[in-house]
């Protein structure tokens, strides 16, 4: 599972609420200023606030720029870090580091098991000679869940860099505490943040219930885990639709949908559009690799195919090729699409660029 890339702002001075509530008020300011950089900044617990990294990094020209902008605008003694998943991002902030994408596990390895904030588990592990997250991650998962239970299994996933969420990282009462600090009515809007105000011209009880459940899933898996589909114009199956996070500003936009778009394949459309196309080999009856010419024609008839080195399957029916010439104004790409049905009845949408073939989508 791909973890959401997060920027975390960690203000060590604001972690503990003092007698006068000064810290919470200052933290409100931190969240508000971070929110000026990215509307998605959200408080995690007192002194810790997170924002998705992707959008702002694109806008400001890199994660380094986002980090330096944040340090500038926040105005407190703020440590800022970037990593995949919330747990690693908080540690990265403490260390003021940008952890490259995909290297969470290596980054976490030297940290102590105590960082998991599970004292009993940490003591037991340390007695067993397991001191770092790296050593903990190296234990086989089934053993961890058998020996230590479900919560430790969740912590184990975090140590392996496969999950970023751990019970206890997020303070569920933080929104309420900040409302108090802002001098607002703490119970006002304790019903979920109306992510989608007026989406259908006012939320019904069912909408509120649904919103609550989506927010719970987002708490568990990250904001980008809950998505709404949007249909738009486009030739590619991948271009015709987008998935936008539920609650994001784009999610409220009216879908244009259904506009005729020249060059798109006729219905029915594939039920699985692969984000990462799979390599496939396609040969003719003589076993020669099939190619698409510059004019979008095939040099033979597809007879067999093998997906990602898998077993060869006979092609029983096929249609196409439909040549695709896109972005002719920038990069001239000659591609062609073929629908292919194999002997097992499976229909795939294949795309070829010269001699390289890909499975783009499946009709399941």
């Amino acid at each position: 599972m791909e973890l959401e890339r997060l920027v975390v702002v960690w203000c060590p001075e604001l972690q503990q609420e003092g007698a006068r509530g000064e810290e919470a008020r200052r933290f409100v300011q931190v969240v508000a200023r971070a929110g000026e950089l990215c509307p998605w900044a959200h408080p995690i617990r007192l002194g810790v606030c997170a924002l998705p990294a992707r959008g702002p990094a694109r806008f400001f020209g890199g994660e380094e720029m986002v980090v330096s902008r944040l340090v500038e605008v926040v105005g407190e003694d703020a440590h800022v870090g970037v990593a995949d998943g919330l747990f690693a991002a908080v540690l990265a902030a403490r260390a003021r580091l940008i952890v490259p994408a995909g290297e969470v596990r290596q980054f976490l390895a030297p940290w102590s098991v105590a960082t998991l904030a599970r004292p009993e588990l940490a003591v037991t592990l340390q007695r067993l000679g397991v001191i770092t997250l790296g050593q903990f991650a190296a234990l086989p998962s089934p053993h961890v869940s058998d020996r230590f239970g479900a919560d430790a299994a969740a912590a184990h996933l975090v140590a392996r860099g496969e999950s970023g969420e751990l019970a206890g990282i997020r303070d569920r009462s933080i929104e309420r505490r900040l409302r108090v600090a802002r001098g607002e009515d703490p119970d006002l809007g304790s019903a979920p943040p109306p992510y989608q105000p007026g989406f259908f011209g006012g939320a019904s009880a069912a909408d509120t219930r649904a919103a609550l459940s989506f927010a719970r899933v987002q708490d568990r898996l990250g904001i980008e885990a809950v998505l709404l589909g949007r249909v738009q114009g486009g030739r590619d199956p991948a271009e015709q639709a987008t998935l936008v996070p539920w609650g994001s500003p784009e999610a409220g936009a009216v879908p244009t949908g259904g506009a005729p778009w020249p060059g798109r394949l006729p219905a029915p459309s594939p039920t699985a559009v692969l984000r990462v196309p799979r390599r496939v080999e396609v040969v003719d009856a003589a076993g020669l690799a099939l190619e698409v010419s510059g004019r979008g024609l095939l040099n033979g008839e597809p007879a067999r195919l093998s997906v990602e080195g898998g077993p060869w399957q006979d092609v029983t029916a096929w249609a196409g090729p439909w040549p695709v010439t896109e972005r002719w104004w920038s990069v001239r790409r000659r591609r062609a699409r073929v629908q292919a049905v194999t002997a097992d009845g499976v229909a795939r949408l294949l795309c070829a660029e010269r001699a390289q073939w890909w499975v783009e989508a499946l009709y399941d």
Binding site: V226, P237, T271
Partner: protein, 260 residues
């Protein structure tokens, strides 16, 4: 005896409730409210001709045999009727296909990559939405399956489980749909385009009242919706579709894309 008669006589008076009160004392969950609509061609598969709230329906089929199409189609009418729906664990959902099946995209959230948290995510969603479609990453654990079915019952949501084989859902559903033999129409050797998939769908399970039923459906037909076979509808005990008698609904002629 006499006393009963008198009571009977008194009954009509008690029916003369003020209209407002009569409205308020209606059962809070009318029978119709316990059912969630499904597209008309799928109605014969269900004993109630609709998805019943609180039940678990499994949809099984080998990859490529149209089980995803069938499972997504179960969200179509409910989402159009205003119910919130969710699809958990479909890694690369075909949004256009979903729209073609009649799903109201404004009412369906996708959780494509729940990882090992699929059961928890589905459990979080059951209290909030009317239909949860979940695809477990492999054979589901017994505890997870039992927990989800129980939660669906308790929260009066419909749980739809998409699996490769019905054994992968250890609890067994109240209703089990499985896709058997399929055949694609409209595509030849180098001509036409995929127009429709004729699929044999078998129904069994606790709630099917013991009658195993089979019918042939278009999963999907040419326009992308699901459809019953043209003239005869669901056919019980018929051995497979006859050859070439009814083409898929929708566009004919394989002229391919409108432009190149």
């Amino acid at each position: 005896m006499f006393a009963f008669g008198q009571q009977k006589g008194a009954a009509p008076r008690s029916r003369e409730l003020p209209a407002g009160l009569a409205d308020r004392v209606r059962p809070t969950t009318p029978v119709a409210g316990r059912l969630l609509p499904v597209p008309a061609p799928l109605a014969p598969l269900f004993p109630d001709r609709a998805l019943r709230r609180g039940t678990t329906t499994t949809v099984a089929g080998l990859p490529g045999h149209g089980a995803t199409t069938l499972a997504l189609a179960l969200l179509a009418a409910a989402s159009q009727a205003g119910s919130w729906c969710a699809a958990v664990g479909l890694p690369d959902p075909g949004v256009v296909a979903a729209a073609e099946l009649g799903i109201d995209l404004r009412r369906v959230v996708f959780v494509p990559h729940p990882g090992s948290g699929w059961a928890e995510a589905a459990g979080d969603l059951l209290p909030g939405v009317d239909v949860v479609l979940v695809r477990p990453p492999g054979r589901a654990r017994q505890t997870a399956a039992r927990h989800l079915s129980a939660r669906a019952r308790e929260r009066q949501a419909a749980l739809v489980v998409l699996v490769d084989h019905v054994n992968e859902w250890p609890e067994g559903g109240d209703l089990a749909l499985s896709v058997g033999a399929i055949e694609w129409e409209g595509v030849g050797r180098g001509h036409g385009h995929l127009q429709g998939r004729r699929a044999e769908v078998r129904v069994s399970g606790r709630r099917s009242a013991g009658r195993a039923m089979e019918c042939t459906l278009w999963l999907p037909a040419g326009s992308g919706v699901v459809a019953a076979r043209a003239e005869d509808g669901p056919a019980e005990g018929e051995d497979g579709p006859a050859e070439g008698e009814d083409g898929p609904a929708g566009t004919g002629s394989g002229e391919g894309p409108e432009a190149a």
